[in-house]
């Protein structure tokens, strides 16, 4: 929390920092089990996200650094969302995912529905035998990129790195440490249909696969 001078906090409680509603009910008074249809304005999110990207951009020199920053901004959200979404599950299925497939399904269905109001479009395992630790979550048109056109000189950038950070937070929180990156694949063979198509590449740490192998035997 920010530290205000002692005089300031005492004298002007209304002006400093958070504003409290007149009935005294803050976000912490609301029940965790909210209705499923609590939606936010996409326009206000778009403006906020646009400022987040410009903020990050002013503080970096390269594209990778920019993606890193966006990733870091999303990471704590993922950690917290994992807890929140599991709490909202019916009591019977209220366990955290224990296998890679269960985790990825949880991300594809629960996380995506909570954040974007629909499921992710596809889930794939890397077909390359050299990289069995790589999985792909595919979104044909990520909501965060709805209004963003990346300039040509930054064509490798995908602002969905922020969503990748959220996914990484969920994986880390569920004890499946991973690196998640976002890649644009529109503009290639089937890119005409979905120019904003994005692949979230989930690369798990070796110990996760090791544990997964032991699980399979047991």
């Amino acid at each position: 929390m920010a530290h205000f001078g002692p005089g300031k906090t005492a004298s002007s409680k209304e002006q400093a920092g958070l504003r409290y509603p007149s009935n005294g009910k803050t976000i912490y008074h609301r029940p965790l089990h909210r209705t499923k249809t609590a939606e936010l304005s996409q326009a206000s999110f778009a403006y906020l996200f646009s400022e987040m990207v410009s903020y990050a951009q002013r503080r970096v020199t390269g594209i990778q650094e920019l993606e890193k920053r966006l990733n870091i901004q999303g990471h704590p959200i993922g950690l917290k969302l994992l807890d929140l979404l599991l709490t909202r599950e019916p009591p019977r299925s209220q366990t955290r995912p224990l296998t890679i497939i269960a985790l990825l399904h949880f991300i594809k269905i629960n996380l995506w529905t909570h954040l974007f109001g629909r499921q992710a479009d596809r889930l794939e395992k890397s077909s390359n035998p050299d990289t069995p630790d790589e999985y792909m979550i595919i979104d044909n048109e990520p909501l965060v990129n709805a209004y963003i056109s990346v300039p040509r000189e930054m064509s490798q950038l995908n602002c969905a790195a922020y969503v990748a950070g959220i996914v990484e937070g969920v994986c880390d929180g569920a004890a499946f440490p991973a690196r998640v990156t976002a890649h644009s694949v529109g503009g290639k063979e089937e890119g005409e249909m979905w120019p904003g198509k994005t692949v979230f590449l989930v690369k798990f740490q070796p110990e996760v696969l090791e544990r997964e192998a032991l699980f399979g035997k047991g």
């Binding site: 400022e51 963003i148 990346v150 300039p151």
Partner: protein
């Protein structure tokens, strides 16, 4: 029924977007000429806005400066609108000025109906795909793929009707 071209002029009179949708509707002129057109129109628009008398709100004649309306609330006179339509035998140019001073010029067939509606949609797209894009710098030329794409498909739909 055709939309020929769209021009966007920033509040300083600079050309920031210029696109032709229909070949053969208008003669081709160079980019430099488009820049001159934008600057000239900007100037003419400013002068015509000054010609336009300010009308105080109806029922509020007593206060000369029209600064306080009923109930003591501040009311402003209608903002002066400059030149809005320019018509020639073969095309009609409609101008729309946003509250922030950006001008959209739409060149259409003289018989084109519902230009206001088209203009509104174009403005919507501008606010969505240009203003919400973190890589767009205000007052600079518009280079947003998404805007180009959406605008293109919308105008194509109108022109093919």
């Amino acid at each position: 029924m055709t939309v020929f071209a769209l021009i966007i002029i920033n509040k300083a009179g600079g050309l920031i977007y210029n696109r032709t949708f229909h070949e053969g509707g208008l003669n081709k002129i160079s980019t430099n000429d488009y820049l001159v057109l934008a600057g000239t129109f900007h100037g003419v628009h400013a002068i015509t806005a000054r010609l336009n008398p300010l009308k105080p709100r109806v029922g509020n004649r007593s206060s000369t400066s029209s600064s306080s309306g009923p109930g003591g609330l501040l009311t402003r006179p209608e903002p002066p609108s400059g030149l809005e339509v320019l018509e020639s035998e073969n095309f009609r140019m409609q101008c729309f000025t946003t509250l922030t001073g950006v001008k959209f010029l739409l060149f259409t067939d003289p018989t084109q109906a519902n230009v206001d509606l088209t203009m509104r949609r174009v403005y919507d797209m501008y606010t969505d795909y240009v203003m919400k894009n973190p890589f767009y710098q205000l007052e600079m030329p518009v280079r947003c793929d998404m805007f180009d794409r959406k605008l293109g498909s919308y105008i194509r739909e109108i022109n093919n009707r």
